[in-house]
């Protein structure tokens, strides 16, 4: 068998540009200073659900307000995880595991203390009719929740009627739809038409295997999204007042 020096034919850029500091070292610099809050935030970073609940209880025993803990410990811990993911320090499963721990913490606060927090906005997510491939939607849903959005997840193989009814009921700031196949992604066209008929101008963020920017751009409310990590940024941009034309300018990369 022949062998060669691979460095003359390929470059492992991931090795070349890897950051010097470990995720733990970077996070350590970002954790809040106050001890009780710091412990909750660290438990979120580590994605340890039991530790999250325990540290919340400890903090409350020490006199901290549960709502304060949601906003300034749970959400802050999650923000650190999201920032490190955006900066290429953490990987997606780290975000998923931490988000699960954060939601566990929020649920604990709600159940035990009757307190909830305000979400940044509400978003409806779904997989188009005829399509059962939903791992992309699951990723998008977790990333949105991790960024403080309330997500109404309609699931997979969702018919147009159900999507429109959910939008009318929930009044979301945006809709996210995913599709793997060419023949199912036509469902975006029907959602677009039905929303316009009802004078609803909510952005429809579309992504998934066969979906392309050219296809989505045909529809007035359509916004193409190539990377799941961009979806929370799109939501933030909508909160900041960008319309569909401005969103396309910002997020259509091709």
């Amino acid at each position: 068998m022949i062998d060669i020096n691979p460095q003359r034919i390929l470059v492992r850029y991931n090795v070349k540009v890897e950051k010097e500091m470990t995720p733990e070292e970077v996070a350590e610099k970002l954790f809040p200073v106050e001890e009780n809050i710091r412990e909750v935030a660290k438990a979120i970073f580590e994605g340890d659900e039991d530790e999250v609940v325990e540290s919340i209880q400890n903090a409350i025993n020490n006199g901290l307000d549960p709502l304060n803990l949601i906003n300034n410990a749970l959400m802050v811990g999650m923000e650190i995880v999201s920032t490190l993911y955006d900066d290429g320090v953490l990987y997606l499963p780290d975000v998923i595991i931490s988000a699960q721990a954060m939601m566990e913490g929020i649920e604990y606060c709600k159940e035990h203390f009757g307190q909830d927090h305000e979400y940044k906005g509400k978003i409806v997510s779904y997989v188009v009719e005829g399509d059962i491939h939903d791992i992309g939607k699951k990723i998008v849903t977790v990333l949105l929740r991790a960024k403080g959005y309330e997500v109404v997840d309609l699931g997979k193989d969702v018919c147009v009627e159900e999507v429109i009814a959910a939008v009318k009921k929930e009044k979301p700031i945006m809709l996210t739809g995913t599709s793997l196949m060419t023949t199912t992604m036509i469902g975006f066209k029907d959602v677009n038409s039905r929303l316009l008929e009802s004078d609803i101008n909510v952005p429809v963020v579309c992504g998934g295997g066969a979906v392309t920017q050219d296809f989505v751009s045909q529809y007035e409310l359509g916004l193409y999204c190539e990377e799941a990590a961009d979806v929370p940024k799109i939501a933030d941009a909508i909160i900041n007042g960008l319309n569909i034309s401005q969103l396309r300018k910002e997020f259509h990369k091709h």
């Binding site: 062998d3 691979p6 390929l10 090795v15 791992i135 699931g155 023949t183 066969a210």
Partner: protein, 460 residues
């Protein structure tokens, strides 16, 4: 039918593994023999979105696609081609649609064969429609419809039958996003294998009944999901090491189709096929640089090393500067095949194989474990415990990790993150029991609270 477990390697010497040759070639279609000393392009396509609006539009779309591909093949002088029709959902849930399309495609292929003598065959891959809105329903009513679809295409023109089956998918999706190695092993090695065995016993019977080929499965829904999430070198979505483990475990899972009666060629997107070829000696279809129309690839050349069919995975039917998309990609694939076939004729096949393989061997750990020598090692670890679907999957995962670990002390560069992730995976795998029943019981219990996990899908 009893399952034929593999307890030894089909190839005694890994050096004998090369593109265009398999131990058990498959005759099919019009004069085609796959794995019998030459390679052929396998062109794959998806209809335009609007074609799904009615049966008539869909049939017309596939007629155009088939004609376009064959016209280009004869225009440029290629001796053989395979067409693969992966069903869109409408074609499987309406079995007569799939049947009509298979018939129309085969009629066109026959006309070209009669006029030009071009060797050709048609693979149909019904969609795995056993996924409900809430959860998988692998053995319920939709299974009957799926088998009806196989019957219909087999009796109306399809030469080869395949599927990308979904067994284990819900557990896998949950596990892969949580770095849960044990869950990945359970979902693919146990649940996936059980489902592949179940479905392929029936598909093989249908193939036999209609004198067509039970070709093979692919772990697209799991191993390729991991590969796609892992992405390129700079993506931070999933440790490539976890994708390595997933791929290794997918080999004994897809092997189960051959244990239940399939004979190849394995389906294009089964990157695990080189391991399977080493074990079972069946011909395989592969995709790599010719499938960049569908997804990026970290082993675009390496995937050619032992292929018998060379595929483009899928491309939407549309116009390009050089013709329609199926013509362009079909031509590109066929030129690759022409190069491989020239190498075979000239006696340079092994040299070419090695160049293909080495050019990507160190590009990524996922490519490294599939280099044919390493794929062979994984195959040996599988047949060592070939009768135990748990141990063989665990062996494959551990062997793949060992291969990467050894490689990282040589030319295979790993980032610190990948090294740490590999160490975690090895630790996690070595902490697992050696007892299949204990492992299954532990995981049944662990996933019992998962709302869309239904044990009866797997006979429990």
């Amino acid at each position: 039918m009893s399952l034929k477990r593999y307890n030894k390697m089909a190839y005694d010497d890994l050096e004998d593994m090369v593109f265009g040759h398999s131990i058990y070639p498959v005759k099919t279609g019009f004069d085609l023999e796959i794995g019998a000393g030459y390679t052929s392009a396998e062109v794959n396509y998806a209809p335009r979105p609007a074609a799904g609006e009615s049966k008539e539009k869909l049939i017309a779309e596939y007629q155009k696609i088939t004609t376009d591909v064959l016209q280009r093949m004869v225009q440029v002088g290629f001796p053989s081609v395979v067409l693969e029709t992966e069903h869109v959902q409408q074609m499987t849930v309406n079995p007569s649609w799939g049947a009509e399309i298979a018939h129309e495609q085969k009629t066109i292929m026959e006309e070209f064969y009669d006029e030009y003598g071009i060797k050709c065959a048609l693979r149909h891959t019904p969609a795995d429609i056993r996924g409900g809105k809430e959860s998988l329903d692998l053995r319920g009513d939709s299974y009957g419809m799926l088998l009806e679809s196989f019957e219909e295409v087999a009796s109306n023109g399809a030469d080869m039958l395949s599927i990308e089956s979904l067994g284990g998918k819900s557990v896998f999706d949950s596990s892969i996003l949580r770095n849960d190695i044990s869950g990945v092993l359970f979902s693919i090695g146990i649940l996936g294998t059980l489902d592949v065995e179940f479905i392929w016993e029936d598909i093989s019977k249908i193939a036999k009944k209609h004198d067509v080929v039970a070709a093979g499965d692919t772990d697209c829904s799991q191993a390729n999901t991991a590969m796609f999430i892992a992405g390129g070198l700079l993506d931070r979505k999933l440790a490539h090491t976890l994708a390595v483990v997933t791929r290794a475990v997918s080999a004994p899972r897809s092997l189960a189709a051959y244990e239940a009666g399939a004979v190849g060629p394995g389906k294009d997107c089964g990157y695990e096929n080189t391991i399977i070829k080493a074990i079972a000696g069946v011909p395989i279809s592969q995709e790599g640089k010719g499938s960049t129309c569908a997804h990026s690839d970290l082993m675009g050349n390496l995937a050619m090393q032992c292929c018998d069919l060379w595929s483009n995975e899928s491309v939407e039917y549309r116009g390009e500067f050089g013709g329609t998309s199926v013509q362009c990609w079909g031509e590109t694939l066929s030129y690759d095949c022409s190069m491989m076939n020239t190498a075979i004729e000239a006696g340079y096949a092994k040299v070419f194989r090695d160049v293909f393989m080495v050019s990507d061997r160190y590009r990524d750990s996922q490519a490294f474990i599939l280099a044919f020598d390493n794929a062979y090692r994984i195959g040996e670890s599988i047949v060592k415990d070939g009768n135990d679907i748990y141990l063989r999957a665990k062996n494959a995962a551990i062997e793949a990790c060992n291969i990467v670990d050894e490689g990282s002390r040589g030319q295979l560069e790993l980032s610190r993150f990948e090294k740490a992730s590999l160490a975690k995976a090895i630790k996690s795998l070595h902490s697992l029991t050696d007892e299949k029943d204990v492992f299954i019981e532990e995981n049944m219990d662990k996933f019992s609270t998962m709302e869309n996990f239904i044990p009866k899908n797997y006979g429990y």
